[in-house]
Amino acid sequence: MKQKIEQIKEKFRGSPEAVLQDIKEFKSRAIEISAEKMIVNISGREMPVEGHVLYSENNKNPNPVEITVTDGLVFQSKKDPRILVIPEGIVEISAKKEIPEQGALYRKKGEIPIVPVVRDPDLTEIDGRTFRQTGTLQVKIVNATIILSD
C-alpha cells in the first residue's frame, strides 16, 4: 500500500495544478497526509499527538477508510484525483465497521440502521509512531497534501 502512495507522489511532482473541489467526503483503502503542521486528536485519548506525516489504513476491516473534510477548502489535483491539497482545515478519518448481528436485525425489519457501527481504523502511523484500532482521528492541518490509495 505504501509503495502505491510513493508512486502517486512521483506522478504528482510533475503537475501540482489543483482545482477547488466541493466534495468533502472520500473513501479509500489507505491515506497519507503530509503537512507543515499537524495536530491529531484520537477519540478516547486525552492528549493530542503532533506530527508531520500521518498514514492510516484498513488492513483487516473490509470497509474502506472514510475521510471527511469538516473545515477548510479542498483542492484536487487535475492530473490525479487521488491527490488533495488543503491549505488549512480539519479532516476526520474513520473506518466504519458494522456490528453484524445488529445490522442484520435492522435490515430484516426494513429499517435504516441507527448505530450498528464501530469506528476504528486498523492501523495509524504518526511520524513513525504506530497506533492500532484507534477511534476516529480528527486531524488539524496546515498546508497539507492528502494522498488516497486504492
Binding site: 486528536n41 477519540s43 478516547g44 485519548r45 486525552e46 469538516t70 476526520e92 456490528i99 426494513g110 429499517e111 435504516i112 441507527i114 448505530v115 450498528p116 457501527v117 464501530v118 469506528r119 476504528d120 477511534g135 476516529t136 480528527q138
Partner: protein, 308 residues
C-alpha cells in the same frame, strides 16, 4: 437527590469573575466584541458544539466532532413535527404511541404514506427510544450527531474509556460543557453582557472555547389533544344504517300501519347520518384522535466564551 457540581461550579464562577475584571481593565472599546457572558437566564433550543467535553456529576464524556445539544422534549417535538399525514395529521399521536408502547402498528394503518417516510419515522423514533430514559424526560439533554434526521452519538470516551457502537444516552442536568467552538441562537430577558458592556437580549452567536452550565429545561410545549371518538361515530353509523334498512323494508311492505312505523325510523336514520357526516359539529366531535404541538422546550444555561 441529584448531586451538585460544587467544585466545577466554583471554577466557572471564578472564571466569570476574572473575565469581568479583565473587561474592566480594558475600558477602551477598541476591543469591541471580544467576549460574551451570560450569568442569568439565557435560553436556547439547541447548541452546536465542536469537540465537547461533558462533565456530569458521575462521568466525564469526551466527544470528537460536531455535536448538537438538545433538550429531549425538543427532540421529541422535532420528530413529531417533521412528518405529516394527509388530512388530519396523526403523526404526533403515532410517535407518542410508538415511544410509549414500542410498537408500530399505528403506522400500518396509514396506507397512503410513502414507504420511505414510514421507514424514516420508524428509524427516528427508534433512535429517540434509545436516548429516552424512563419517565424523567423533561430533565434530560440529548447529544446528537445530526438534528435532521435525529442520529445518536455512537463514539465517545467515557471516563477515559473509548466506546464505539453503543449510543450515548441522554444526560440528566445540571451539567457542564466545555467545547472548542459553539454556535447557537439565544434569548435572555435580563440580557447578556458583551465585552464592550453592551447588553443583548437575543441573537445568534459563534463562540470560541466556551463553557456552559446547563441548569434546567423549561417545558413550554403545549399539547392540544382531540380525544378521538371514532368508535362512537362508527356505532352511530351502524345504528343509522340499521334504522334505514328496517325503515326501507317496512315502507316497501305497504301493509297496515307499517308505512307509519317506517317514517320515524327513516327520519332518525337521516338525522343521525347528517349529524355524523355532514354537520360541522359531527366532523369535529368524531374526528380521529390527534396531538397538536406548540411552543418550545429551551435549555436554561449560564455561559462564558469569546466571540469568534
Amino acid at each position: 437527590m441529584f448531586p451538585e457540581f460544587s467544585r466545577e461550579q466554583q471554577k466557572l464562577n471564578l472564571e466569570i469573575q476574572q473575565f469581568f475584571e479583565k473587561l474592566k481593565e480594558k475600558t477602551d472599546t477598541s476591543i469591541f466584541g471580544i467576549g460574551m457572558v451570560a450569568d442569568n437566564d439565557a435560553q436556547t433550543t439547541f447548541i452546536k458544539l465542536r469537540n465537547p467535553v461533558i462533565e456530569t456529576p458521575e462521568h466525564r464524556i469526551v466527544i470528537l466532532g460536531t455535536v448538537y445539544a438538545v433538550s429531549l422534549l425538543e427532540c421529541k417535538k422535532a420528530v413529531q413535527s417533521r412528518y405529516t399525514t394527509p388530512g388530519v395529521n396523526r403523526f404526533p399521536k403515532i410517535v407518542e404511541d410508538m415511544l410509549r408502547t414500542g410498537g408500530s402498528s399505528e403506522l400500518g394503518r396509514i396506507g397512503r404514506i410513502d414507504d420511505e417516510v414510514m421507514r424514516a419515522i420508524r428509524t427516528e423514533v427508534r433512535t429517540l427510544q434509545r436516548i429516552y430514559v424512563g419517565g424523567e424526560k423533561s430533565e434530560r439533554i440529548a447529544f446528537l450527531t445530526s438534528v435532521d434526521p435525529i442520529l445518536s452519538i455512537s463514539e465517545y470516551a467515557i471516563d477515559g474509556r473509548h466506546t464505539s457502537g453503543v449510543p450515548l444516552k441522554s444526560q440528566l442536568i445540571p451539567l457542564i460543557i466545555k467545547a472548542e467552538r459553539a454556535e447557537m441562537a439565544f434569548t435572555s430577558t435580563a440580557g447578556m453582557k458583551v465585552s464592550d458592556l453592551r447588553v443583548e437580549q437575543r441573537g445568534v452567536i459563534d463562540l470560541i472555547g466556551p463553557k456552559f452550565e446547563i441548569k434546567g429545561v423549561q417545558d413550554n410545549i403545549i399539547i392540544t389533544k382531540s380525544v378521538g371518538r371514532e368508535r362512537i361515530g362508527d356505532f352511530i353509523t351502524i345504528i343509522a344504517i340499521i334504522n334505514l334498512g328496517i325503515g326501507a323494508v317496512l315502507s316497501l311492505l305497504r301493509r297496515g300501519r307499517f308505512l307509519e312505523i317506517s317514517l320515524p325510523l327513516l327520519f332518525s336514520a337521516a338525522v343521525l347520518l347528517w349529524l355524523r357526516y355532514f354537520s360541522e359539529w359531527g366532523k369535529e366531535y368524531f374526528a380521529p384522535s390527534e396531538i397538536g404541538i406548540e411552543g418550545e422546550a429551551p435549555m436554561e444555561m449560564r455561559f462564558i466564551g469569546e466571540l469568534a
